[in-house]
Amino acid sequence: MRVALCGNPNVGKTTLFNQLTGLRQRVANFPGVTVERKAGTLAGAPHVEVIDLPGTYSLTPRSVDERIAYEVLVGRLEEEPDVVVCVLDAGNLERNLYVVTQVIDLGLPVIVALNMMDVAEENGLAVDASALEKDLGVPVVPITASRGEGIDELKGCILNPPEPAQVYRWQLMDAVDAKIPALIKQLAEEAPHVKPMHLRMEVLRALAEEETLDAWRLEAPEFVNCIVVLQEEFAKRGVAWRHAEVSGRYAWIGPIAQRVSHRFRGPATLSDRIDAVFTHRVAGPLCFLLILVCVFEAVFSWAIPAMDLIEAGVAALAGGVRSVLPAGWVTDLLTDGIITGVGNVVVFLPQILLLFFFLGIMEDSGYMARSAFIMDRLMKRVGLSGGSVLPLLSSYACAIPGIMAARTLDSERDRLITIMVAPLMSCSARLPVYTLFIAAFLPTGKLLGVFGYQGLAMFSMYMMGTIMAFVAAAILKRVVFKGPESYFVMELPPYRRPRLRQLFWRIYQRSRVFAVRAGKIILGCSIVLWFLASFPRTETSPEATQIEEQAIQERNREYAAAQALTPGTDLAVAADSVALTDSTLAHALDLTARADAKYAAALDSANIVRQSTQIRGSAIGYLGCILEPVMQPLGFDWKISAGLVSAFAAREVIISTLGIIYSVGDAEGGVALRDALKADRYPDGRPVFTPLVAMSLLVFFVFALQCMSTLAIARRETNTWRWPIVMWFYMTALAYLASLLVYQGGQLLGLS
């Protein structure tokens, strides 16, 4: 048996879902789309599957989320549910009941769960559940999902589902109602696959909605004709056919809601009082800005200890594996390729978790809607709407959740534009790249004694990306997605205290999806990249051999000199003796110790030379060399180009690639890599990395779409390769041009 939970957004559906299923739930995706399909089994009744549908205001779907809810209920996406539990906010009966009347008309057994009875009561509103049950003709169970009240009664009702409704209880205006039977007959003839129970709904939708009518044009041309003729006739007679269904439903609901709810105290004003501040002309935007600053400060500073810990753990694990396994390429693959590669993803989890946490609080408390309310005016100017604020903010953590969050947008065009520009927001994968190059090449001083140059540079990276996202949105709207203005109709739900347990559970689920999906891709890429960097093998490096030979000779010479100081004593043996009373002997031993240290350093540099010879000869070095002429105008040599090739998979990989190229290990932002970058020279002695090259590279990273996961998710969300491909090309072109401008312009200005 399958039970679907449906209802408006923000009515506590998910809380109820958690109460009904406990932790026995699976989060997957609906086939073909990435809308989460949350399902679980009813606690105490494992044969009952419970599905949590996305929130919907009506069964005439507008957003992707609503379409999913609609298609499940009419049995188009999967078999239709056996019982539908409509969850209602008792404090907002009228609007909540609208979709209930539509679900009842589908002919499915419906149970109404009257939620948030406690909140309604606090707000001075009493709702009579049994009166509502009588008026609606379906069972009504009062619950308070957050406290688990009424859950057992609801379960009992689910296990003994009611009969589906047989009559339409609401009245269509007579003029329209009279015409419906003929239209139903016509549609049934032309489209026999439509279930009899759905015919009336389809007719009403086709009558009211141009898009729905258009959709029938091919399959049921005569039906469409009838409707067009009828619409003309209505227009002539002055019949408001367009409002017929909605007005009819509300005309039924309104009086019911009046009858069953009793206001014993004036409405609570806490939510209004909060809004008086949060949406105040001056305080509102200030609060919004302050909240943003705090969230980002927290995300970036609180995450650092955890990230350091993860880095150390990954390094220790790689070291441990290396010490246990025999040396060889399999071990190298395991440590340098797999462990380090996966570590590169895991290290971002603290930031992503924190961002999910804060966004979750904003969402659950109702503040997210206010941020859209505040920002809509500005967003509209660049071709987006207030609803794009959340997806774009999420993209600062990672474009993947950002692109997914765009599903809540009503307008398909707004959704596409949001998806197309979301990757321009600087995600956390760019952060280590920014950190490394800014720390290495920008001065540590302060501007005007207040703002550190490095902090300013970091801030300007974020600003550049954000501004470009707005510019790109404005251009996309005017050039690519032309069309009439979209509309903005959004509920401002009452403020609520977020439920932490539920929030943590959701964060856990979302980040698991992220870690698994991104982890798989990065794991694969790390392995491929490791092979590209390690093959073909360059076995010999005359340069390195020479360094080694010289080192051996030098060490022998210094040993001989030390030995000459203390004839008769074997220095190799004396080194182990504890008592060093003889100062000459101590001096000699000191000399040999220094010789050993010098020798070890020489061996290290021989190793570095050997590894970079290897990289230069490898497939990735080859690619880098091919790209070098193209990248030279941006100031990039073959090593940076090779790094950029590897960064296509995921941005932060450039750090491990450069680490491998410079053979300094790849602790992110590590001092060793920083020094190696600064020390690198072209054959003619010019430094490879100057502050200008670093700026050019940073700008490239701000704009370029170097993330396979983003492309993959954009493909899934737009259902075509077209948009991800357009996205990749426009962003890469943007990155190239911007870097070109920075480097060439900088040179003209005499910078280096």
Partner: protein, 75 residues
């Protein structure tokens, strides 16, 4: 007059709509001819507006408000 002409604090009764893609959505959200609507406040940058309709808050743009014909409640 249209809903756009109402100042914050004023309320009115919906009479009808100018045709637009937004209308069906607005009606589903409870704004049908005959319902009462109050303008609560404007957003900080002047648009959109915060309405009270059927005892909850709904936010729409001024451009949508201009499509809604109303009669203003006096006093």
């Amino acid at each position: 007059m249209t809903l756009r002409d109402l100042r914050p604090g004023e309320s009115g009764t919906i009479l009808g709509f100018e045709p637009s893609a937004a209308i069906n959505r607005l009606m589903e959200m409870g704004m049908v001819p005959g319902s009462q609507v109050q303008v609560v406040r404007l957003a900080p940058f002047g648009d959109p507006i915060d309405l009270r309709v059927r005892d909850y808050h709904l936010s729409i743009r001024k451009s949508e408000a201009a499509l809604i014909r109303i009669s203003r409640h006096e006093g």
